[in-house]
Amino acid sequence: MIPLMVAFPLLFAFVIVILDTLRAKRTLIKAAFLLGVVLPAWVFLTERGREIVGGWNRAAGIEVGISEINAPFIAGELILFTVVALYSIPYFDFRNKKTPKSLALLLLLHAGLMGAFIAGDFFNFYIYMEIASVSAFALVAFSDEKGSKRAAFKYLILSLLASYLFVFAIGIIYMETGYLNVELVAENALPSRELQAALGIAFASLLLKAGVFPLHGWLPDAHSIAPTPVSAVLSGAVVKAPAYGMILLFSALPPRETFREAVMGLAVASVFFGIAGALLQKDAKRLLAYHTVSQMGYVLLGTASMNFVGAAYYAMAHSLFKGGLFLSVGSLGKKSRKLGEFGYRNAPLMAFSVLMLSLAIGGVSPFIGSYAKGIISSGLGGTWKWAVTAGTVGTLVSFTKLNYHLSKGETGDLAPIEKLSALVLALATLCAGLYLGAEPKLSDASYIFAAVLVFFALKFSGVLEREVRGEAKDVGKDVNVLVAVFVTFMLGVLLIQWP
């Protein structure tokens, strides 16, 4: 019964298109949308274990399953998507003829993500990740802002190239072992040079789709220009599917020691690069998008140290707080998005939510961020633990910057659903942290204190006023540069594995 989690959103997506062609009433379409979003949760709460679709045996069938590594990913995505669905019903204007189609695309995104997270088989995972990605491209292109089509085009070309190289690597794995199922590959894999090359190529492709440091060039544009609920789902859930793919890859073909050390170094570089990029931004949503680059570094750190449960819990935590931040900043900044022109001075409930979410993303206990960071750093060696601590302070510095600018401005009217959605996600981070057993620790107050000091020091020294100007190059040159970076990175990964 586990594949029903994918079947229900897919069915209701088609039903919405039928209802829209027959010109049904708006309440029917909204009801179909909400049913499609909520029904997978019913299946998730009642089913566990593995199953082969269609009742075949394992070597001939497609395996799906929910285990302790999957469950945090799926739980985070379900909570985030329910809140985003409730937010997006009043957000999209129903007089516009495009709106039922964007609701159908959101349901297809949901079905694709569910299918990717329950997959136990490489090719099945690739197909559902593609369904989710195509819906994401179309949703990014739906927005009416300037530059949205260009951002969608860049995202499309780069993601498609990475997908083709991923399928190429799956082909090499099939040629060497004869199976596509993750467990059967893990049993039958003999160490050979072709399998190491396939591991490197697949890893580099998933790295581009997840938006980690050298290959993040498409991420700030696409995630900041999209409409607000779509940005929340993109940063919260769509970049987690490639992270789950990396977990599948490393559990099937365990990498060697040198490769793992190089990946951990790359993850730490991503954490600090994201923080540095976020400190120099003047646009609120681009700041949050650079933070996604930074937080995916933490997930990669957990994966590379073979601590898959830690990476899964951190991914769930990031879905909750990044989704909440995008929804609240997006609804506060409806007229303009530049920092300093809007804020929460006259909306105390939103201020409370944003402060709670900032503490959660910084890793202050008892929020869920600190629980997840604790699991990740318990799997690391001595020197890498300092990186996690330094990253905590850095994240708090840049969120001090966000709250500082937000506390100085005012905002327009807010619909009650917008205040409620941000508050629900903020409370979810707190309750999840308490449920999983994190206690308040006094030492975390020292992090906040250090972060505030560092922020004011940077502000007085004038570093933060420097303009990072992005010229509007045409989209062809952007794609050329990003593909060249990708190819160079992949050659580097292949050369590391040479001996």
Binding site: I127, V134, A141, I157, Y174, D474, K477
Partner: protein
């Protein structure tokens, strides 16, 4: 002679060169399609060997799985190409 796998990898490299060197969006979409053609050729080469039988009521069949995988990949490629062409039309109309 070159085997189909080597020819497939060569065509993929030609497509990746096209992505790095051309500037107009339609040429980029065409280069992605060339990469996909090379990938399909690589997979077909994996399964084929000249002395085996057709995989229907088989005695010693050719492996049918890579051909099925490639059907699915081609479907994905066609869908994304049509989306990319629609985005290009919209980009031109909005004036850039």
């Amino acid at each position: 002679m070159i085997s189909p796998q080597q020819a497939g990898v060569l065509i993929m490299l030609i497509g990746i060169y096209g992505l790095m060197a051309k500037r107009e969006p339609i040429k980029l979409v065409l280069s992605i399609n060339v990469v996909s053609l090379g990938l399909v050729l690589f997979f077909i080469g994996l399964a084929y060997s000249p002395e085996k039988d057709v995989p229907i009521m088989p005695t010693d069949p050719v492996d049918p799985l890579p051909a099925t995988l490639m059907l699915t990949t081609l479907v994905v490629d066609v869908a994304i190409t049509s989306l990319a062409l629609a985005i290009i039309l919209r980009m031109r109309r909005d004036g850039s």
